[in-house]
Symmetry: C2
Subunit: 385 residues, 2 copies
């Protein structure tokens, strides 16, 4: 994606220095800061503090973190240690473990001396595949938006989105926003309702930033407003991402997604969840019972950062510490509220049967990007390393 | 209610000076500031800028505002002019118009020279009645909470509330919080989930302040979290207030209420709306079609005030003006999602038949506070002044 006329990915290796670089998303939109991740601890810190976030990008960063660690020490002990350090950073998004398992699989069977390069190549491959995946999601989603445009009397298609599932949440393109970028490029009229997404405001900070940079009409709303807009017929569809989706189609995503799904259901608004298959946890069925929900610091509810009257970045505390705060970071939307799962293989029903078919298709197809022997994503039975 | 050991109402006449005083709610919780409303323009400004807010308190302030205006000029022209100025302050809460009509009714039939005192007495009466109403709501609600406590195996009753419907939203006691204060005084174990209530954070700023002062256990959550908590069985009931309720039981309340109602419905959590009958607009049936929804400034979405690292009150801007923001202040919860309307006459079904019976009862009963000829609330046919 382009920022101020220059192409960026959310994570990349600097051609000149070979350094691993990220955009520090905690500083957006007030400051555009590029950081170098020099070792696995920096990578773990970046994931934990959400300098990088979004399930696909967390996976990509963890893969690169492993490569950084193995470049220093590629022993089995080091491998085991780095896996542990990275897996502990965030519990909910499945891509973290998926990417770590994938790199582990590649390096486990080869001599210690070859592991660093293999891990680095695998991390690069994961990133490139993510870009291809997300672009494919965008193309499949474009067809949905074209359909909405046709069925509308006129005016722009109005999409509501929660949190940030754009290119900043992936390596490029995004999941829920990829169809929007494709539709905008295809000349469809669009208007995006951007949920602020408290407590960390990924909507007003990141999604609005992305849409501004791409010149796509949008309006920021508080998380409370979406139900009202749907009641009034001002939302044609909801597009969100997912941090983990179960084999039966339950969707775990940023806290508040479930409320929007209920409202979409009550008002006959289609509710699409866009995700790469790497976000599906085939080993579980029941999202409410089986997905660990990260509880983050109360300080994220209590404090907010913005620009003060002098234009300086400042943090304010909204209420005294004498009042406690709870901060569950994700919630689960049961499959029955999901109109469809939008994947790199196309639209899929949020139910076990449709997902089983999709998995079969995936297992027996070549990679979207490389028509090689390698699978696009590992099967879960490969993960028991 | 008590703050730091001293009794307060949210609006009162200073015994020593005769001045009309309010607590400036825009400054809470960071500063506790008492302001004097010297004339009707100050009263109108206080309502518009939400120094006072909450349907009952808006009504009480408007009544006092009329008294202030008529003390300067009690002519018919002045009366007409001041009505217009006050009615224009905020469009959604019906109590504003109800209180203005009530004062108008009292002063219209009497000589100009007697109007100022009559208006002042009526404003005082409206305030005293509101206190009695809210305390009655508290007593009726206590029975509901006692029932919840009995049906619970143990642990505190967990109530979720949205916005502020406490004593700061009324003259004293509150609507949705009155039962909580009564239950706390009666020794019931309680824990309150306080919805932050973006954009103006009446939950984390005002409700949390009230609960801290009364020593009631509570936890602040972002507005996104309530659905997740209900899914996990962590909410025994929802209690909210109302800015306007229709004759068929549709409830207009602070933006985001509807999403919590949907979630309560989906998870079999009882959803109670506490309100004085003065918040019922008997002239309308369909909340979605007939209630004007106030659209407030985008700056309320973009900017937030808190304490900076130096402990000073500071305002920060969350995202650039290049992104627009929409700020609908209320939404409508259809009657079918409301378990019951908790009024000064007891619990009432949110349907036309139950409300009609309640209205009949009200019309034929004496005032709760004064067993006089005066009605507790006017009938709508009295409002065509």
């Amino acid at each position: 994606m382009r920022i101020a006329g220059q192409d960026y990915r959310s994570i990349w290796i600097d051609d000149a220095t070979g350094d691993l670089r990220i955009i520090d998303q905690t500083e957006l939109p007030h400051r555009f800061e590029i950081r170098t991740l020099a070792d696995v601890s920096s990578a773990a810190e970046a994931i934990r503090t959400m300098r990088v976030r979004g399930a696909p990008l967390i996976g990509a960063t963890a893969a690169h973190g492993m490569a950084l660690a193995l470049a220093r020490d590629a022993s089995d002990e080091s491998l085991s240690c780095v896996r542990e350090e990275l897996i502990a950073t965030r519990p909910t998004a499945i891509n973290l473990r998926w990417a770590i398992d994938r790199v582990t699989e590649v390096v486990s069977g080869i001599p210690v001396g070859e592991r660093a390069e293999a891990a680095r190549n695998e991390a690069i491959e994961i990133c490139d595949e993510d870009v291809a995946c997300c672009e494919a999601i965008g193309n499949h989603g474009l067809a949905i938006l074209e359909g909405l445009a046709e069925s509308k009397a006129g005016g722009p298609i109005q999409i509501l989105t929660h949190c940030n599932a754009g290119w900043l949440a992936t390596v490029d393109w995004g999941t829920a926003l990829a169809p929007i970028y494709k539709a905008h490029a295809a000349g469809l009229g669009l208007h995006i309702w951007v949920d602020e997404t408290r407590p960390r405001n990924q909507g007003s900070r990141l999604t609005a930033f992305e849409l501004r940079e791409q010149g796509i009409p949008h309006t920021v709303i508080v998380d409370n407003a979406g139900g009202h807009l749907m009641q009034r017929g001002l939302v044609d569809a909801v597009f969100v991402g997912s941090d983990r989706t179960t084999a039966s189609g339950d969707v775990c995503n940023k806290i508040g997604t479930y409320l929007k799904a209920l409202s979409a259901d009550a008002n006959d608004v289609p509710f699409y969840v866009a995700l790469p298959l790497s976000s599906i946890d085939w080993s579980i069925e029941n999202g409410l019972e089986d997905i660990p929900i990260e509880e983050r610091s109360p300080s994220e509810v209590r404090e907010l950062t913005g620009l003060d009257d002098a234009g300086q970045v400042a943090r304010v505390s909204l209420f005294p510490e004498a009042s406690g705060a709870a901060n569950p970071a994700f919630d689960v939307t049961p499959a029955r509220y999901v109109t469809g799962l939008l994947t790199e293989y196309g639209l899929c029903g949020a139910d076990r049967e449709s997902l089983t078919k999709l998995r079969f298709k995936q297992t027996h197809q070549h990679s979207i990007r490389n028509p090689s022997q390698r699978r696009l994503h590992p099967r879960p039975e490969d993960s028991n390393v």
